[in-house]
């Protein structure tokens, strides 16, 4: 005997088919663009690529400013993009007459990169803006398109601000840099190629710190017994000698 389908199942079946049917119908009627993922991606890429450009790129600058480009390409700033200092210039490139880019003639632009900061890599040229020719715009002495020191720096602090600051609070504060380092004149012009000397032997420090040395207030040690297998700066940082590592 075939079992009769209960009445409630038939009713539920109708309701469920209506629900499913209307969902299916809605999905069918919806414009395919709404459901089409590749189309969404495509339109996103198109929208993304259509965004306006603000930075023109340094090649664009070279087209008109060949003189600056030639000057810059052999100097220390050769790898610098023009817009690093001059700001976004795509609008200027499109309309060179009416829209002019930013020109940093004041002092505040350069310290962004060249102010001394202990986190900056050593060797990167840094100055202490409060003692380095205060208030003078950088461009009076340095041509930003070919930045070389205009004259030999008088003080080591011009470049080695960090060391000088450390030394200033150490017990070597009154010892001049040149007491320990012989600085060839050419170091001031080509600092990376011609380098100053550094002490090489225990006897060098001994000139002040060995027993019987003529300097009165320097602490004395016996060079023959005081950790004789090491050189002094393995334990004492000369610019901060109080600190023992």
């Amino acid at each position: 005997m075939p079992k009769k389908v209960p009445e409630q199942i038939i009713r539920l079946g109708i309701v469920i088919s209506i629900i499913f049917g209307s969902v299916a119908l809605t999905l069918y009627l919806l414009p395919p663009a709404l459901k089409d993922k590749p189309f969404h991606r495509r339109s996103t890429i198109l929208a993304e690529t259509a965004k306006p450009i603000q930075f023109a790129g340094s090649n664009a600058c070279a087209d008109c400013h060949d003189d600056k480009y030639q000057q810059k390409k052999t100097g220390y700033h050769r790898n610098l993009s023009c817009e690093t200092c001059h700001g976004p210039a795509a609008e200027h490139a499109a309309d060179p007459i009416t829209i002019k880019p930013f020109v940093a003639r004041e002092r505040r632009g350069c310290p962004t990169c060249h102010e001394y900061d202990p986190s900056r890599p050593t060797g990167f040229p840094q100055i202490n803006p409060t003692i380095h020719n205060p208030l003078q715009p950088c461009v009076t002495c340095h041509n930003p398109h070919d930045p070389v020191p205009p004259r030999t720096p008088e003080e080591c602090a011009a470049c080695h601000a960090g060391i000088v600051r450390t030394k200033a609070i150490s017990s070597h504060a009154l010892v001049a840099c040149t007491t320990c380092h012989t600085v060839p004149e050419k170091h001031k012009i080509t600092p990376r190629i011609i380098r100053p000397t550094k002490p090489e032997t225990r006897d060098f420090c001994g000139k002040c710190h060995a027993k019987g040395a003529p300097v009165v207030d320097a602490p004395k040690i016996d060079l023959s017994t005081h950790w004789e297998k090491y050189v002094c700066w393995q334990c004492h940082y000369p610019h901060l000698p109080a600190e023992r590592l």
């Binding site: 209960p6 009445e7 409630q8 009713r11 539920l12 109708i14 629900i19 709404l34 993922k37």
Partner: protein
């Protein structure tokens, strides 16, 4: 930019401790996302309680069977609201059905939710109530008559065979419903547990912990409702039922507590790179909400109350008082659990070096008032449902 937001974020910036990534100052999942797992938890818990009657034939708790189903439905109807309201573009929510990303845990929400609502809960309630609906539609006058007729889908058959069929169907649906309830809430846990970038969330235990705490909150809420509604109706509370519910609640709390303790001890013992920042998080930001509210007030004290009621054979009145207090404490505790997961997980930086702060809005679409409204709404729905299809008058039994 919006001045208000700037001020808010500047204010938050001053309260950051340590280092956080610069985009991490703002808490992105607000109190509404705390409400969401809390509400779905109640749904799953209440349903599982209902299934004890249908599938496991725990006759003592039958008086709460229909109430559990209606509670589950009221909370389930509210569950998507907090999610929708917190979206940056709620008007685009339908996209989750049109272009679901099948690899996304969140994309499954719509499907899991629709299945649970339509495939399980509504069906079970319909089969459970169909006989009554037919009877009511015959007894009542216009317009209620037509509402009942519509609700019963114009069905008319209340023969013994038909009612027996309803009963069997409801039972079959419950059997499917238990794994579905597990799925619904385990899935909510998975949304958090699967975020590998966040060491506070990323845990394989997360779905299970969510599930157990869901059962705890569901049972506790049903006890609460049963104890409130029965005296209002002028009936007496069935102590056998209440004791049985309380013991189920106690077991659930114990399992939940053990799992959470396991998770905690495991993290502490493994002591991975995140352990320091998580310890700071607990000590500085979550001390009150985690250790005091969630663990002490929400677990230890109420389980002691539940045990005390039975162990010392206290009087009925005292037992009722203990159960009632325990249930309220547990609700607060479980809400705090959700808070600690959702908000706690965003208070520390993924750089593991610092903490930020959550400043809750009071008014506004993601504020406290909205959260409270969303927590009250299920009770409003429940009141309407209880008025419309009373869970205690089993009219069909009297007539058939």
């Amino acid at each position: 930019m919006n001045q208000e937001l700037t001020e808010k974020l500047t204010d938050l910036l001053s309260q950051v401790t340590g280092y956080i990534y610069p985009n991490e100052i703002e808490i992105h999942w607000s109190i509404l996302i705390v409400v969401y797992p809390y509400v779905t938890g109640v749904v799953a818990g209440a349903f599982i309680l209902a299934s004890l009657v249908k599938v496991f034939n725990v006759e003592e708790v039958r008086p709460t069977y229909r109430l559990s189903l209606l509670t589950a439905l009221s909370f389930l109807l509210v569950a998507p609201l907090p999610l929708n309201l917190h979206l940056g573009h709620p008007e685009r929510a339908y996209e989750i059905f049109l272009t679901p990303n099948l690899r996304s845990a969140m994309a499954m929400f719509g499907f899991v939710y629709a299945w649970y609502l339509m495939g399980v809960l509504l069906l079970e309630i319909w089969f459970e109530y169909r006989g009554d609906l037919v009877v009511w539609s015959r007894e009542k006058q216009f317009p209620m008559k037509w509402i009942y007729r519509l609700l019963s889908l114009f069905s008319n058959d209340i023969s013994k065979r038909a009612l027996e069929f309803d009963h069997k169907a409801a039972k079959a649906i419950t059997i499917i419903g238990i794994p579905s309830a597990f799925l619904l809430h385990g899935y909510v846990g998975f949304i958090f547990g699967s975020v590998k970038a966040n060491p506070w969330w990323s845990s394989v235990l997360m779905p299970i912990v969510f599930l157990m705490s869901a059962i705890v909150s569901g049972i506790a809420l049903i006890i609460f409702l049963y104890m409130v509604i029965t005296p209002i109706r002028g009936e007496t509370i069935d102590m056998r039922c209440l004791d049985r519910l309380a013991s189920f609640l106690f077991y659930a709390v114990i399992v939940d507590f053990s799992l959470e303790a396991l998770d905690f001890v495991h993290r502490l013992y493994e002591s991975e790179e995140s352990v320091k920042i998580l310890a700071t998080l607990i000590n500085q930001k979550l001390f009150m909400s985690l250790l005091i509210i969630q663990v002490l007030l929400g677990m230890i004290i109420p389980s002691a109350m539940l045990v005390a009621g039975r162990a010392w054979r206290l009087s009925e009145e005292l037992r009722k008082l203990l159960y009632f207090t325990a249930c309220i404490l547990i609700q607060v505790g479980i809400f705090s659990t959700r808070w600690n997961v959702v908000i706690g997980g965003q208070l520390f930086s993924k750089s593991l070096r610092g903490l930020t702060t959550y400043k809750m809005e009071v008014i506004g679409s993601e504020g406290l008032m909205m959260a409270l409204a969303l927590l009250v709404l299920p009770f409003v729905i429940l009141t309407i449902l209880v008025k419309l299809i009373p869970p205690w008058k089993e009219a069909s039994r009297q007539t058939s």
